[in-house]
């Protein structure tokens, strides 16, 4: 159609066609030359004008900056002995994003490292939850041979990252568990909380997860080093270019006496116990023990499911720091302090009360567990722990004269200590009762309070501080980080030193003057003064009273009384104040006091104390580590066999 209309135009001849061809061929050639020039220009633009930009990008491609996790600062005791140190560690991690064949990698690692089925299951679970580039730990503490075997095969195992790093090491193991806490691979929350600090996802880097490790994280951490490495697109290391070494974190000096700490932890045996020793002159915490405990070494390596289950099912709560988080009624251990309040309220210490073992107040009958004491005055009421004396005298003095004094001695007080959580209990008064339970204070509330029962709840550290204040007459504040000048404490406001001397004297007689703990005199020249306490856990009914109160031995472990012993030594010139608690240990003198005797002996004569401990450990079946390992093995074996694992208990 188009052609027909164009027909009138002159027909194209072959000659004309030839001319058209030549013309168009030249045009085409010119166009091609133009395109070639354009391409050359484009290349020049990329290679010359943008050379720097692309050179940088090429460098970004091949050069990766790898952070070298800094060595954590040591945690040392008052003499510089390491509580937490670092040791060289060969480790292997997996970078989820870089894994090409997960099954092959896991199979190969299992073969090379001899991973247990438990470890493989853990690894799979970790991989499921892992986020991209965050490394998943496979194994730590490898031998050099294992490390070398992995390194050799690295090119064919995409995603596997062998590394030489430093691992946290706690020479004393479980003895310092609740003191230092432990370290672990940062989780997502911690990573987000630090604005995605790349250090937190560096392989082998760990952060404090509990205790001092957690609260002192920033000062222990140090500054990471940098390794600039050349890598291929697949992540294979070509060569290291430049390395800036890390700067280790500063050591943390604590007030702990590591020898004492370790001794006390071992002396706890299989009991569920807490112990605190304070230097009354400066408030230094010398010993901070909560047992049973976890081994921070195994926690820091990533604890297995079996181990975790075993810990969380243990009714002695090895995962709870009883020193700061355990709240208990103080029982009779509060009597010395109550006596100070009574003296201040004007009670004549020579005034006697006739203890007939039972005492009626209105409809209720109150008992004295140690009585009948007959006619008894304050000094003996403390040393023999007469409840009825304190019932009557507390009523006579009135609650308004006792509770404020109790708080001055640290009851219900929260101390500024570097631990993630602290429970500080209650010392009740009428106002508190009204606020909390909306009822009037009754005289039986005063009676209960007078022997440290009822609403009274304290933690073991508060008990030790109370003793330190009774001993020094000053507002001793505990500290665990030994930094700055030795603190000076104000004298306790409105407390007569003579009243304190009276009470100290009575406490000396608890151990040395025919008192409730007279079996536990120290086998050294120094005298120990103290006070026993038995904190009732259950309510004793009238029916049970009638048929005879059941002995602790006949009760299930959980129902038995807590055993307390607070003490100081030397009684002549007090230096150390201490508190010992044995959960469900029965009468104060039966579990806590013997422990206190050995630990206080350690302060003056290590050899004698060690001999006593050696005999006990033999009886318990070996050292702490040995017993913990054996229990873990038994537990694992029972689980493997599919039977109910042995229930750990506080029974010795």
């Amino acid at each position: 159609m188009i052609g027909r209309r164009r027909n009138p135009r002159p027909a194209v001849t072959e000659t004309a066609q030839s001319a058209i061809f030549s013309r168009r061929a030249v045009v085409l050639g010119a166009a091609q030359a133009g395109v070639a020039a354009l391409l050359a220009g484009r290349m020049g633009y990329i290679a010359i004008a943008q050379n720097q930009h692309y050179s940088e990008m090429a460098e970004e491609n091949r050069i990766q900056m790898r952070l070298i996790p800094p060595r954590r600062g040591w945690i040392v005791d008052r003499r510089g002995a390491p509580i937490a140190a670092n040791r060289s560690d060969f480790r292997v991690d997996l970078i989820p994003d870089r894994i090409e064949d997960r099954e092959r990698v896991i199979a190969e690692l299992t073969r090379l490292l001899g991973l247990t089925p438990d470890a493989v299951a853990q690894l799979r679970e970790d991989l499921e939850q892992a986020a991209g580039f965050q490394p998943v730990p496979v194994a730590e503490n490898l031998t050099f041979e294992q490390y070398a075997a992995i390194t050799l095969r690295q090119p064919e195992l995409a995603g596997v990252s062998p590394l030489r790093a430093f691992a946290r090491f706690y020479p004393q193991g479980a003895a310092v568990g609740h003191l230092v806490g432990y370290v672990g691979t940062p989780n997502r929350e911690e990573y987000e909380a630090e604005n995605r600090n790349p250090l937190l996802i560096a392989p082998g880097f760990k952060v404090g997860k509990n205790g001092l490790e957690k609260t002192q994280e920033m000062r222990l951490r140090g500054r990471p080093g940098e390794a600039r490495v050349e890598v291929t697109a697949r992540g294979r290391l070509v060569r290291e270019l430049r390395t800036v070494p890390d700067i280790a974190g500063r050591p943390l000096h604590t007030t702990i006496d590591l020898g004492l700490q370790n001794y006390t932890a071992r002396r706890c045996g299989e009991q569920s116990a807490a112990a605190v020793v304070i230097d009354v002159t400066n408030g230094d915490i010398l010993c901070f023990v909560s047992m049973p405990s976890f081994d921070p070494n195994s926690f820091s390596d990533g604890i297995s499911h079996a181990e975790w289950d075993m810990m969380s099912q243990d009714e002695r709560h090895p995962l709870i720091n009883k020193v700061l988080q355990g709240l208990y009624p103080p029982g009779s251990t509060s009597k010395p302090m109550t006596a100070v309040a009574l003296l201040k309220a004007g009670i004549d210490p020579e005034q006697r009360v006739n203890c007939q073992r039972a005492w009626r107040l209105g409809n209720a009958v109150f008992h004295c567990s140690g009585g009948p004491h007959g006619p008894i005055a304050m000094h003996q009421a403390i040393s023999k722990s007469c409840d009825i004396y304190f019932y009557q005298m507390a009523l006579q003095a009135g609650v308004q004269n006792i509770s404020p004094i109790a708080r001055r001695f640290g009851m219900g007080e929260r101390f500024d200590l570097p631990f993630p959580s602290q429970r500080y209990g209650t010392w009740p008064d009428p106002e508190w009762l009204q606020r909390r339970y909306h009822r009037e204070w009754q005289s039986y509330d005063t009676v209960n309070m007078s022997i440290g029962q009822g609403y009274v709840l304290v933690n073991p550290l508060q008990q030790a501080v109370m003793v330190a204040r009774i001993v020094s007459g000053r507002k001793v504040m505990p500290r665990i980080i030994a930094e700055g000048p030795a603190p000076e404490f104000e004298p306790l406001e409105g407390i007569d030193p003579e009243h304190l001397a009276f009470v100290r004297d009575a406490m000396t007689d608890v151990v040395n003057g025919g008192g409730t703990a007279s079996r536990f005199r120290l086998p050294v020249p120094e005298l120990m003064a103290g006070k026993t306490g038995t904190a009732q856990v259950r309510r004793i009914s009238m029916a049970e009273r009638a048929s005879g109160v059941r002995s602790n031995a006949s009760l299930a472990w959980r129902m038995r009384d807590h055993s307390w012993f607070v003490c100081f030594a030397p009684a002549q010139a007090p230096r150390y104040a201490a508190c010992f608690l044995v959960e469900h240990g029965g009468f104060g003198a039966s579990a806590a006091a013997p422990m206190a005797k050995d630990v206080m002996t350690y302060l003056f004569d290590r050899e004698k104390a060690m001999t006593a401990l050696a005999a006990l450990e033999q009886q318990w079946g070996g050292t702490l580590e040995k017993r913990m390992r054996r229990r873990a093995e038994q537990w694992a074996a029972a689980r493997a066999a599919g039977v109910e694992p042995p229930q750990p208990t506080g029974h010795l």
């Binding site: 159609m1 188009i2 052609g3 027909r4 164009r6 135009r9 027909a11 194209v12 001849t13 072959e14 004309a16 066609q17 030839s18 058209i20 061809f21 030549s22 168009r24 061929a25 085409l28 050639g29 091609q32 030359a33 395109v35 070639a36 391409l39 050359a40 484009r42 290349m43 020049g44 990329i46 290679a47 010359i48 943008q50 050379n51 930009h53 692309y54 050179s55 990008m57 090429a58 491609n61 091949r62 050349e230 890598v231 291929t232 697109a233 697949r234 070509v238």
Partner: protein
């Protein structure tokens, strides 16, 4: 008496200037392949062997008279269309895209051979068409059908790059044959209208994605835009003189995808810089200039058209590949002939050169006769 003995006639009559350029380009290509393999002959050696074989083929083809190609143009075209259909059918039966036929001893890629064949066929058509018909409808539709059938068959393979090259090769011959200019202008305008429609209704997802990424490579730097980005990094990092032989990190550390085939120019550019790039472009320019001269000196209409058309085919290879690695065109899988590793492109280019040499021989030996 010359000191240099006279070369035997069959060797002396070869277009040595052009062959020297081919040697230079291929030789440089082998050096680049040696480096791309990390300093091994893994790719360079087989490629060298291929070059020798296909060069022998091209020289042999140069002794065949152009009349032979004219005679067999349609037959070759028809055969290749049948093979293209066969490839498509086999692909459908086996389930999956396929571009080649396996004859046991050789893998034949009909779409590759179609690049020179379409030039021959369309040229043959215009050679047969009486000169006065050139402005008519009959000058257009048969050529469009001849181009459309193989282009469509290749497009559904799917191979956008080769289909484009076949279509452009055919259209170039139409242009040179003397069709009215306004047809091309009109087609250009129509193309601008149709292209967006084709983008949405004809192209495969992956092709659409490639075009989208070509328009904005940074939108997906780790995904499909990765190829273009890494290629540009390699070229840009090379600078003026390059990082040095065997020193390119983009190719050696595997950041550059396919450093020996489609992106061989980037591999080269990183180590040899702009100077290496200008050298390659210059070699191609000389090769194309030689082809253009052959076309202008050719006497017959068929010879003229195929000489210019085949030269354009070589040009298209180079232009599309370079535009692709420099981020001026989408990634369509067109290699850089004589430099990229692989047999197909070198075979096609050698066929082009063989026929061009045949025409050149006829131009020189028999300038007066048709």
């Amino acid at each position: 008496m010359s000191l240099v003995p006279r070369l035997p006639a069959p060797i002396a009559t070869l277009p040595w200037a052009m062959l020297l350029v081919v040697f230079a380009l291929t030789g440089f290509g082998l050096v680049v392949l040696y480096s791309a393999a990390g300093g091994h002959l893994t790719w360079a050696l087989p490629q060298g062997v291929r070059f020798v074989v296909f060069l022998g083929m091209a020289i042999a083809m140069s002794y065949v008279r152009p009349a032979f190609y004219k005679e067999w143009a349609f037959a070759a075209y028809a055969g290749l269309v049948v093979l293209l259909v066969l490839v498509e059918a086999l692909g459908a039966i086996r389930g999956g895209a396929q571009r080649w036929l396996d004859f046991g001893f050789v893998r034949l890629q009909p779409s590759e051979l179609m690049k020179p064949a379409i030039v021959l066929t369309v040229a043959r058509f215009y050679d047969m068409l009486p000169a006065r018909e050139i402005r008519g409808w009959t000058a257009i539709w048969p050529a469009l059908v001849l181009i459309g059938i193989p282009a469509a068959l290749i497009l559904v393979q799917p191979d956008l790059g080769t289909a484009t090259m076949v279509a452009l090769g055919g259209v170039t011959v139409m242009f040179l044959a003397g069709l009215p200019l306004r047809l091309f202008i009109g087609a250009g305008v129509a193309g601008a209208v149709v292209a967006p429609l084709a983008y949405f209704f004809v192209l495969h997802d992956y092709q659409r994605q490639r075009i989208a990424i070509f328009l904005d490579p940074e939108s997906d730097p780790l995904g499909a835009g990765y190829h273009i980005t890494q290629s540009k990094i390699a070229i840009g990092a090379g600078g003026l003189t390059g990082t040095g032989f065997l020193q390119g990190t983009q190719s050696h550390f595997a950041f550059l995808p396919e450093p020996q085939t489609d992106f061989v120019f980037a591999t080269m550019a990183e180590e040899w810089g702009l100077i290496g790039g200008i050298f390659v472009i210059l070699c191609y320019a000389l090769l194309i200039r030689w082809g253009g001269k052959v076309a202008l000196h050719a006497r017959g209409r068929f010879e003229r058209l195929i000489a210019a058309g085949l030269t354009t085919t070589i040009f298209l290879y180079m232009a599309i590949n370079l535009a692709m690695v420099m981020g001026l065109a989408p990634v369509v899988g067109i290699p850089l002939p004589l430099v990229s590793y692989g047999g197909s492109s070198i075979m096609t280019v050698m066929i082009c050169l063989g026929i061009l040499m045949s025409i050149d021989r006829q131009n020189r030996l028999d300038p007066r006769r048709r």
